[in-house]
Each structure stands twice: as structure tokens, then as C-alpha cells.
């Protein structure tokens, strides 16, 4: 019994120190004077690898999910003769929930794991130590551009996801299933609120971006510098980030759209 309590306390402490280390990494890499001599090149490079590289999977998944939503929504709505509400159904589902969440989960798999593996490998091959020996802080030089690139890319990817998904739904709903285009759009515009739905969805995407990128850089920076250590860290990035996204989604939904 005492043993259990002790083990529990031990785990609690190690979780706490983990959060502490993660907080320090976030703090030290996020703020401070920008590296003027390096210019915007470092950030642009990471925006390219983290943002642009994720675009294909985001667009393809977005179109497919939009098409599926339209198909499913139509079969239900048509029974009530309410197929003109298809636009409203698809866009509210996407803007409030599915867009930010699915885009974030795709982002974790595509960019988060890559960031962890890259930073972990740089640590394992002494590149981070070598950088420190040259007198350059790897948190600023290596971690910071990746952190900001992730934070900037995530909301952009989520909005692109929403746009292509709605367009995918238009193709299936209007062009194939024959929902009237006028009522499709009018219904959508009547129910979707910019502040309530579009902005809140963007805030969600932004929060997911911060947390996912934070987890990814921390797991890489904190990885045990061996092959197993890096593979474990990559797995942790995917698992922790996915759970964090889903848990945060629930909390944010409760705060934003909860019963008032």
C-alpha cells in the first residue's frame, strides 16, 4: 500500500518536472531578441518544411472529408425534406469542430513527428552541443524558428482545410446530388456567424498549433539521444499531441459554444 503511494508520488513528481522542463524550453525558445543577422531565412525555411509540406495532405483530406460529410448529411436531411440545410450542416460541423481538430491531427502526424525526430537526431549526433560550443543557443537558432513556424502554419492549414472541405461538399451536394445552389449558400450564410463560428474555430486552431508544436519541440529537445530514445520521443509526440488536441477541443467547445 505504502509502496503504491510512493510510486504514485514518484510518478507525480516526474510528471511535474517534465512540465517544468517543457515550460522552460518553451519560454526560452519563444521570447528574446530576434536573431537579426540570421534574418527571416530561418523562419521561412521552417514555414516551408512545416507549412507548405503539410499542404498536400491537408487539401486531399479536406476535400474527401467535405465530400463524405455532404453525402452523409444529405441522406439524413433528405428524409425530413430539409436537404437545403446541407450547407449549414456541413459548414457548422467543419468550422466549429472537424476543421480544426482533423487539421491538427494531420499536422501532428505530418509535421510534429518530423520536428521531434529532427531535433532529437541533431541532439544525438552532437549537433546541438556543437552549436553551443560555437556560442549559439540552439533553443534560439534551431528550436525557435520551428516553434513559430508551427504556430503560424496551424491556423492557416485549418482554414485551408475548411475551405476545400466546403468546396468538396458543394461538388457532392450541389453538383451531384442536386441540392439547389441558391438555398445551399443562403442557408449557410444565414446560420454561420463570423465571430461565433469562423473566429472561434480559428482560435481553436491557433491553440492546437501552440500546444502541438510545443510538445513536438520539447520531445525532440528532451529525447534520450539514441535511436530508441528518438523513436520513443516521436511516438510520444503523436500520442500526447493527439490526446491534448482532443481534450482541449472539449474544453474550448465548452467555453465557446457551451450553454450560456
Amino acid at each position: 500500500m505504502l509502496d503504491h503511494v510512493q510510486r504514485f508520488g514518484h510518478q507525480g513528481l516526474s510528471v511535474l518536472t517534465g512540465f517544468g522542463r517543457a515550460g522552460i524550453v518553451l519560454w526560452q525558445s519563444m521570447w528574446g531578441a530576434p536573431d537579426w543577422r540570421a534574418g527571416p531565412g530561418l523562419l521561412i525555411r521552417q514555414l516551408y518544411f512545416i507549412g507548405v509540406y503539410s499542404l498536400v495532405i491537408i487539401v486531399v483530406s479536406g476535400v474527401l472529408i467535405g465530400m463524405v460529410l455532404a453525402l452523409q448529411g444529405y441522406t439524413v436531411l433528405v428524409r425530413f425534406g430539409a436537404e437545403s440545410a446541407l450547407g449549414q450542416f456541413v459548414s457548422l460541423t467543419l468550422l466549429r469542430e472537424l476543421g480544426p481538430v482533423v487539421a491538427a491531427l494531420l499536422f501532428v502526424g505530418r509535421a510534429g513527428s518530423a520536428v521531434t525526430a529532427e531535433i532529437g537526431l541533431m541532439k544525438a549526433t552532437d549537433q546541438l552541443a556543437a552549436m553551443e560550443m560555437i556560442g549559439v543557443d540552439p533553443l534560439k537558432r534551431v528550436v525557435r524558428p520551428r516553434l513559430w513556424a508551427g504556430i503560424i502554419s496551424m491556423p492557416i492549414l485549418a482554414q485551408i482545410f475548411n475551405m476545400v472541405a466546403i468546396l468538396g461538399a458543394v461538388v457532392v451536394g450541389v453538383n451531384w446530388l442536386g441540392v439547389d445552389a441558391g438555398s445551399f449558400w443562403a442557408n449557410m450564410q444565414n446560420t454561420v456567424e463570423f465571430r461565433e463560428d469562423v473566429l472561434n474555430g480559428s482560435i481553436k486552431a491557433f491553440s492546437f498549433g501552440v500546444v502541438v508544436t510545443w510538445i513536438a519541440i520539447f520531445q525532440g529537445y528532451d529525447a534520450i539521444p539514441t535511436s530508441e530514445g528518438i523513436s520513443a520521443a516521436t511516438t510520444r509526440t503523436v500520442v500526447h499531441s493527439s490526446l491534448a488536441v482532443l481534450a482541449m477541443d472539449f474544453l474550448l467547445t465548452a467555453v465557446m459554444f457551451g450553454v450560456d
Binding site: Y48, L95, I156, I166, M188, T191, V192, E193
Partner: protein
């Protein structure tokens, strides 16, 4: 360290993001860039029953949205529900004998306030109250009535 094409692609990526946001704002949420729509004036209407109506519900004339419900509260004197609405400024032809009705979009849709304009010479001003109203149709009451009618017929 980074090439020109990388710069261009990142720029395109950012622009695509902005385009997506604009699309969602204008085409999907119907946000109007016309600032005059944001100038509004306030009127209210009293109902005996507003069941199902919520704040931010649409206010429309002949099916065209002209405003939204800003607040719903109970008037303790008359024990009637007071619905505050903000109406777009350019809709300045609501006569004092206008009728406000709570309707439902489709069978199971959202509740909204529909205003029918009358023929009186005076126009509603900021802060005026519409008293000529039709309350929400409560489905349960309707079903109850039908059953009692059927009962007495037998």
C-alpha cells in the same frame, strides 16, 4: 540557406491562408464588408410566449434578414416576454402598426422573428415597442388541442 522558390512558395502558402479566411468570412458566413449594415437601431416587441427563440436569432422581413435578437427578458409588470432587436439603419420603413411574429424555419429549424410592415404613416424609432405580435407556435399545445378536440368530437 534558403532559395528563392522556397520564399515564393511560403508566400503563396500565406496568401492561400488569407484567401481561405476571406472565403469563410464572405462566402460561408455571409459577413458583409459594407459598414452601413453595422449601423443599427433598437426596437423591441412583447410576446406572450417566446418558447425556443434565442438571442442572435434572425429578424427578417419577407424572408430577408434585417437584424437580430439582442436580448430576451421578462417584463415583471405585464408578465410578457420582451424581445430586444437591433435593426439595420437603412431599414427605416417599419411602420408603427408593424406586426412581429415568431416563426420556425422549416419544421424543425431555428426560431426567428418575422416582421410584417403595416400601412400607418408613422415609422418606428429607436427604442419603440411593437405590441401587435403573434407568439411562438408551441407544438405540444397544438397537439394537446387536437387531442381534446378529437376527444369532445367522440
Amino acid at each position: 540557406m534558403y532559395s528563392r522558390s522556397m520564399e515564393i512558395l511560403v508566400g503563396a502558402f500565406m496568401l492561400l491562408g488569407i484567401a481561405a479566411l476571406a472565403f469563410l468570412a464572405i462566402q460561408v458566413s455571409g459577413l458583409s464588408l459594407n459598414p452601413s449594415n453595422r449601423d443599427t437601431y433598437q426596437i423591441s416587441a412583447t410576446f406572450t410566449n417566446v418558447a425556443g427563440l434565442t438571442t442572435r436569432a434572425k429578424v427578417s422581413i419577407a424572408g430577408v434578414t434585417v437584424g437580430q435578437v439582442t436580448a430576451i427578458h421578462l417584463d415583471p409588470m405585464s408578465v410578457r416576454a420582451v424581445v430586444d432587436m437591433s435593426i439595420q439603419k437603412q431599414v427605416d420603413y417599419l411602420t408603427t402598426d408593424s406586426i412581429a411574429a415568431i416563426k420556425t424555419a422549416g419544421v424543425l429549424g431555428d426560431q426567428y422573428v418575422s416582421i410584417s410592415v403595416g400601412g400607418a404613416p408613422e415609422m418606428l424609432q429607436n427604442g419603440d415597442v411593437i405590441t401587435d405580435t403573434q407568439s411562438a407556435l408551441v407544438l405540444e399545445d397544438l397537439v394537446g388541442k387536437i387531442i381534446t378536440t378529437l376527444g369532445t368530437n367522440n
